[in-house]
């Protein structure tokens, strides 16, 4: 279970998060709604270890992981702009995390190819990432995140760069894949329909505090 306890953070000398508490259990997808600049992405980065809270702590399965650097948390974060590495081919993007876990490069690439095949991207294994369409890039990003078998998946507006039709198609696919993985997921979005399609519970960030939506 991922827990955020009493998280507070200022941005540009204004309170952004004011004592936020949140729990997401394994197999559960939780949506975080809110307007632009409300602190959703900051909260996600705090959970990932990319930013430090001024107050409060992050826990996972009963362990305080606040001081753990991001690479040791075992979470995967998906970015709005996909953050695929432009100097690597699709296969090496997906294999990236495995290599960091100590898997030999050849074995990591083999596993990446298997993963890409499951995502319907087998033909694109050697392609450069910028040659893919938006939807394909998004699938590569998810494959790259899931292949490391993360303990939690953090999604920062993952569909905002896609058109409406593709968004609908991908969110169903993502929901199924996240359910299959059986991990807890935190979805940041400003689109309530998207939140309803993917998450079991939703909270809204308003004035630095979480307000339950459903």
């Amino acid at each position: 279970m991922l827990e955020l306890r009493d998280i507070s953070k200022q941005w540009d000398h204004r309170p952004l998060l004011a004592g936020v508490n949140l729990r997401a259990a394994a197999g559960e997808t939780m949506a975080l709604l809110g307007a632009s600049g409300s602190g959703k992405s900051t909260l996600l980065k705090i959970a990932a270890g990319l930013e430090a809270p001024e107050r409060g702590s992050v826990w996972f399965d009963g362990q305080d992981i606040t001081a753990l650097p991001p690479e040791r948390r075992g979470f995967a974060l998906m970015f709005q702009d996909f953050a695929l590495f432009p100097h690597l081919c699709v296969q090496d993007n997906v294999a990236f995390g495995l290599v960091e876990q100590g898997v030999r490069k050849a074995a990591a690439r083999e596993q990446a190819r298997e993963m890409l095949a499951r995502f319907g991207l087998a033909d694109h294994a050697m392609a450069r990432v910028w040659t893919l369409s938006g939807g394909e890039q998004q699938r590569v990003a998810l494959a790259r995140a899931l292949i490391t078998r993360p303990r939690a998946l953090l999604l920062d507006e993952p569909f905002s760069a896609l058109d409406t039709a593709l968004r609908g198609q991908l969110r169903d696919e993502f929901r199924d894949r996240i359910t299959d993985a059986g991990i807890c997921a935190l979805l940041v979005t400003h689109d309530e329909a998207e939140a309803r399609a993917m998450a079991q519970r939703a909270w809204a960030l308003e004035g630095g505090r979480l307000v339950p939506r459903w």
């Binding site: 270890g49 430090a52 107050r55 650097p69 690479e71 995967a76 590495f85 960091e100």
Partner: protein, 567 residues
Amino acid sequence: MTPLRRVAASPQGDHAGGPAKPVPRRVLATALPVLPLLFLAVVLAAPVLRLLAEGLAPAQDAEPLRWLDVWQDEFLRWRVVWSFAQAAITCVLALLLGLPIAWVLARLDFPGRTLALRLLMLPFVVPTLVAALGVLALWGPRGLLGAPLAGAGIDLHDTPWLLLYGNLFFNLCVVVRAGVDALEQVSAARVAAARSLGATPWRAFWRVEWPAIAPWLASALCLVFLYCFAGFGLALVLGGQRYATAEVEIYTLVAHELELGRASVLAVWMLALTGTVALAYAAIERRLAAPGRVVPVLRQRPSGPVQWAALCGAMALLAVVCAAPLLAIVWQGGCALLVGQGAAVLAEPDTLAALWNTLRFSATALVCATGLGLLHALGVRALDAAAQARNAGPAPGALALLWRAAAFLPFVVSSVTVAFGLLLLYPQASASLVLLIAAYVLLAYPFVAKSLAAALDGLPASLAQAAATLGARPWRVFWRVTLPLVAPALRRGMAFAAATALGEFAVTLFLARPEWTTLSTLIYQHLGRPGQANLDAALVLSGLLMLLALGAFALIEGRPRDPHRHA
């Protein structure tokens, strides 16, 4: 299937409700600038302060000096005024000629455009002394065009034109490149909006494009002014007796007349004036918005006689100003080598020794400059991140801004000032190879630092963050993600650093022992001796040095490619 991710055990202690622990690696990151800072302090700041002290309070046994002596002495006043005037005239000429060329390159699509843009880099790479020889090979009394002119009774020697032409050779491309970059940052939608509101192309340029590009051009002109005002090599060779600049006078006072007091006062005045312009440059740079992702105005094939005339005129101007001196060197050097008396110089022991010195000094300087530049640029990034984390806001901290500006300091302080300051501060080490190489590194490393810092600024933070969340430790993030992505910028910075070191002239003239003669100083020695044989030797050596600089640049920079192909 995949192994489970290795996750470290939880640290002890409950942080609930308490402040979060600071991340120790941030402290480590802010330590990055320490080495470059020490280097700048020892090799730049301390010598400049020593120079200031010398200027303010000359030794007791020296003739007392007053600050205004420079302005009361007609000769020195002319040197300073002319230094200012030639820089200002170059700025005006570079703007008048450079803006139309930039417009043609940014707005018209024609075969050879990419090559033209690439060739615009040449003057940045060519050593100063080679450029000076190129101007002489073209316009000098025995030059390709100068000889016929002399026959017609027009002697350009000892006139300001040679120096101004040399200045333009180096600086026209600065303005053109800034103009092209700026014009490519102008949003097509804004221009289209202006046109749809009734503006003619000229009015749209004047009311929409010009306000957008003016700050970029102003920034480039500040650089041009600084390069010309603090320039040494061109003025030494092309200025003659009357049109040499204050930097040349400082060298003369130190090296030939041993008047350190007068030289110090003059150097301090020059430093004050360059510092003022540098401050203006810094102020303009701060106002420049970081280039965002805009849809630029589409380039179109030239159509109509006006556009074709503009294209032909721009290419002809570039050929006359930027290519002709280099072609003249190649032609005159080739003639000297094949039919003149220049071939013998290549086998002379002095030449081989100079070549060896040039290569070893440059290689050593390049290695050190790369390390320092890397640390400097990463330091900028680390200080930016630390400031943003500390302030919890997007504004960069003052320290980060200062450190970013520090990479520009070696450009602001002239080579002559640095060398003179080093001589004053470390007299016992004035004939030390370490000091000479340190001065080379000082002049070369800002190229690496600035190029890398710009590349790091352009790198989306999400890439490194994605790598970190995928399990990469900071040094692995650097090795697997950051370094490959900034490698083209690193190589480009190194290429400029290598070209700078290979062509270094002023510092070597001040600090080198006779046995440390480099190709640059050897060329100058030949130029100072009478006779056609010496001129031929200088031309051949200039050709060799040019090939060396261009070869090193091409080799290090590698194949150019689009560096910003992000997903």
